[in-house]
């Protein structure tokens, strides 16, 4: 992969301004260069009063993504939501937190509903109105997978955003196909020598999306909000099927402190466990470099769902396996500068 270029943080390192370079709105740069979220007149597509838990990563990621899309489309946006936390905590009758045209149909059909929305807009000559589908990892990688793949294969003009908190949190933390190996959930209790999802196999929907050859696939994290915005903006500039997979920590499901949401997301990226990259038409085109590499233990230790790794006799081998996963990612996605890409 010679065309892999660095993105986001690492390129900003050389920018002239220094103070708070990675903050949301560095006062030393022009309004335009700052994050949408720095702007006093941001759309707040997902506004106050929602019922998400304290420190909810999904609520944060969703506001960033949809606000960025709102800016990119000049507010001409229709959002489709799969069943899940995001849907439940934003729209309990009689209140909704959405300030964007929004529809929820079912758990497994968000991609298809969005396809219908996009088709309706085309046929009505409102091609300027764009459709976004969003769901959690359950609604995306499991039950909604068929509709998602169909939408990809038809290259429908839909941006699908998956907020990945690595389990079914809405129903009380059951494992999904996006749950990392060794993580404890209600359905993968920390019992026996190999608790949690198995090592070796697994389901990378971003890679599966790439296999469809769709115009744009990206992963992002609430740890790098500039990057997330940039990718959503870029995606909205492209027609056809697009997929963005956003890593959003869940204090409840991960057994972490509410205030650690962004910190944990950051550690996931900096350890290499969550690779942040972009792909176009099936080819990896860019990866966000690790700034300060950390061992996976720094990411795992603050989370109760991994507590057994640090108490049980089998812990050390499993931690080593997780470290191996991170190291593989670093090589596969060129996450370190010395990975020899341009």
């Amino acid at each position: 992969m010679t065309d892999v270029s660095t993105t986001s943080a690492v390129t900003q390192k050389l920018r002239f301004y220094q103070k708070g370079t990675f903050t949301v709105g560095n006062r030393l740069v022009s309004e335009r260069e700052r994050s949408v979220q720095a702007s006093i007149d941001r759309s707040n597509a997902l506004t106050c009063g929602h019922r998400a838990c304290q420190g909810c990563g999904e609520a944060l990621g969703a506001r960033y993504a949809i606000d960025a899309a709102m800016r990119a489309t000049g507010g001409k946006l229709i959002a489709v939501n799969a069943t899940g936390c995001l849907e439940v905590f934003t729209t309990p009758y009689p209140e909704t937190s959405w300030q964007v045209a929004w529809v929820h149909s079912l758990f497994g059909n968000a991609a298809a509903v969005a396809t219908g929305v996009a088709a309706a807009m085309r046929v009505k000559g409102r091609g300027d109105v764009r459709a976004i589908a969003q769901g959690g990892d359950g609604g995306t990688t499991d039950i909604g997978f068929g509709c998602l793949s169909g939408m990809f294969e038809r290259n429908d003009d839909v941006l699908y955003i998956c907020y990945d908190n690595e389990a079914y949190m809405n129903t009380g933390v059951q494992r999904s196909s996006a749950t990392p190996p060794a993580a404890r959930t209600a359905t993968t209790p920390a019992i026996g020598s190999e608790p949690g999802n198995v090592f070796g196999t697994g389901k990378s929907v971003p890679k599966i999306a790439m296999a469809h050859g769709i115009p744009y696939v990206a992963t992002a994290s609430v740890a790098d909000l500039h990057d997330l915005e940039r990718k959503v903006t870029k995606a909205m500039g492209i027609r056809g099927a697009r997929y963005i997979h956003v890593h959003v920590p869940c204090p409840l499901g991960w057994g972490s402190a509410a205030h650690d949401t962004i910190r944990l997301a950051r550690l996931a990226v900096e350890s290499g466990l969550f690779p942040v990259f972009e792909a176009e038409h099936g080819h990896l085109t860019a990866s966000r470099k690790i700034r300060r590499k950390v061992p996976v233990t720094e990411y795992l230790q603050p989370q109760k769902r991994f507590a057994h790794l640090f108490s049980s006799e089998h812990g050390p081998q499993q931690v080593a396996k997780l470290q191996a996963v991170a190291d593989r990612n670093i090589v596969e996605f060129h996450l370190l500068d010395q990975e020899g890409d341009v």
Binding site: F16, T21, A38, I40, T47, G49, R51, L60, T261
Partner: protein
């Protein structure tokens, strides 16, 4: 809008749901004391003037700076910058080059001819300042700005004190010093040179001063008894350095030995080199790590070819030959003689063993408490005699220009209060912003800018300034390396990272406020605040 019941809802209606009630602890914006400010002997508001500088507002920065210190160009050269030692940035990469930015601002001010703004009111009080050294000049400046009439009596031929007679040109060019002194005098401070105050009380009464600030410095070289033969050439450091300012340069010969371990010893040795000495050897009785001189100055000296003789004391000097005894450090780190001797060839020996204060002007002043050769003062720098204050090298303190300047400011404030029949109450200090309260992630990696140095050949041969200044570009870069420890710099992080949109942005310069109707108290804002300006406070139950 009219639409189907319950399944379809009007946007934004959740604003009716005040989730603030979920909160068990609330975020609160705080201001913490930046370690640099805390460490500055001159009490400069460093972070404040840096924040102007990093926005390119240099004059504004300079004005904030000079509210506390009238001589940034001098400070930017001679200050040992404890601020940088304290700087939190040192724990990320390297300390912010505060001193170099200060020098840039000082030089810029001279270049642009910035003047202090004229003062509004005259108090009608007269204050006498004795000594035109850093402390005296600082006091004069501050007193004048407070509306008092100030006269300086200086015994020497020129103003500047140790800045002129103790610090060599290659560290502090005289045109810089003169410029900053002149700017102070322009405020309307009267300077009387070559006037030695012999009796302070008499002078005050006769000249009608309501108060006096004494800052005569320490100019009397300490002597050590060294048996010496005929024609043994023994001088003291202060005299050598002072004579550098006169017409006749001191004759030190080709082999010069300097006795002592302070900065003055280094200054003399480096001066000797520049005067053409082939060998300049410093003899010190302890080891390098115990040397009072600053290490970077020792480094520069060694670079310039100055030689060190550690763990040695000088026993005697005969014509051209010095006998030294080797020492060892005992358990307490105190040097003990070994009885081993050796000799050094030397044309001259310069003693740099520190200085004493000439306190003769205080004769006849009652209620004074003098201890260890210095005047004891209260927290308000007032001597035992009401109305007479003292500072700088003549009071118990570290003897640096910056400390002296600090004394000047502090004394001025207390004198002002005293003249108004009150007492000056310094504002309560905030808790210091410690590194672990910051979130360093958000600051880009930005190594310190290295100040260019004069090339070696010229350093050895001339008195040109050794350390060069920063240009506009890297001064700006350096200023922007500041982390703004403990004080919001409006990076919008809290505003951006709140999962509940519970932060209200008040617009440029007005920072933010929390919307406690919706804040659930998750604490992400506090965790992700780069500069530690948010504190989580438990809600009362």
């Amino acid at each position: 809008m009219d639409h189907p019941f319950a399944i379809t809802l009007d946007t934004g209606t959740s604003l009716a749901n005040h989730t603030g009630s979920w909160r068990t602890s609330r975020p609160v914006y705080v201001d913490r004391l930046p370690p640099c400010n805390h460490a500055c002997p001159a009490g400069e508001n460093i972070q404040a003037w840096l924040s102007h500088a990093e926005a390119g507002e240099y004059e504004a920065a300079w004005r904030v700076l000079t509210q506390d210190n009238p001589m940034p160009a001098v400070m930017g050269r001679v200050c040992y910058h404890p601020c940088e030692t304290a700087c939190n940035r040192a724990q990320i990469d390297e300390a912010v080059g505060i001193n170099s930015v200060e020098r840039f601002l000082g030089d810029e001010a001279i270049k642009q001819g910035w003047k202090f703004s004229p003062l509004e009111t005259e108090s009608g009080k007269r204050v006498l300042v004795v000594g035109a050294g850093p402390s005296g000049l600082s006091a004069a400046y501050h007193l004048r700005r407070l509306g008092h009439e100030v006269e300086i009596f200086e015994a020497g031929p020129l103003a500047g004190g140790m800045m002129r007679f103790g610090i060599p040109k290659y560290r502090l060019p005289r045109d810089v010093l003169d410029a900053e002194i002149a700017r102070i005098l322009d405020l309307g401070v009267t300077l009387n040179l070559n006037v030695k105050v012999v009796n302070i009380l008499e002078t005050m009464i006769m000249r009608g001063f309501h108060a006096a600030f004494l800052a005569v410095g320490a100019h009397i070289a300490k002597r050590a008894y060294i048996p010496a033969g005929e024609a043994a050439k023994i001088l003291d450091a202060i005299a050598v350095l002072r004579s550098m300012e006169g017409e006749a340069k001191p004759l030190l010969g080709r082999r010069v030995v300097v006795y002592g371990g302070g900065n003055t010893a280094l200054d003399v040795a480096r001066t000797a080199k520049r005067l053409g000495a082939t060998d300049a050897i410093i003899v010190y009785r302890r080891t390098r790590d115990r040397m009072p001189a600053h290490d970077f100055e020792l480094e520069e000296a060694l670079e310039e070819g100055v030689m060190m003789k550690w763990l040695s004391t000088i026993k005697r000097m005969d014509d051209g030959v010095i006998t030294v005894e080797k020492m060892v450090l005992d358990a307490t780190g105190f040097p003990q003689p070994t009885g081993e001797f050796e000799t050094l060839e030397a044309d001259s020996l310069v003693l740099a063993l520190g200085q004493d204060v000439d306190l003769s002007l205080l004769n006849g002043v009652p209620e004074l408490n003098i201890k260890d050769g210095v005047v004891q003062v209260g927290a308000n720098l007032m001597t035992g005699y009401p109305g007479i204050f003292a500072g700088g090298d003549m009071v118990p303190a570290e003897r640096t220009v910056t400390v002296a300047v600090g004394h000047g400011k502090k004394a001025a404030r207390h004198i002002d209060a005293w003249l108004r029949g009150g007492a000056y109450e310094p504002a309560p200090r905030h808790e210091i912003a410690a590194f672990d309260q910051l979130n360093a992630w958000y600051y880009a990696d930005a190594p310190k800018t290295v100040r260019p140095m004069l090339e070696m050949a010229r350093r050895r041969a001339t008195f040109e300034e050794v350390t060069q200044g920063l240009d506009e570009t890297n001064a700006l870069y350096e200023a922007r390396r500041c982390l703004s420890c403990g004080n919001c710099f409006e990076c919008d992080n809290c505003y951006g990272v709140c999962p509940d949109n519970a932060v209200i942005k008040l617009g440029p310069g007005n920072r933010f406020k929390f919307d406690y109707d919706f804040c659930k108290g998750c604490g992400v804002c506090a965790q992700e605040c780069p500069c530690g300006a948010i504190m989580m406070v438990p809600e009362a139950i």
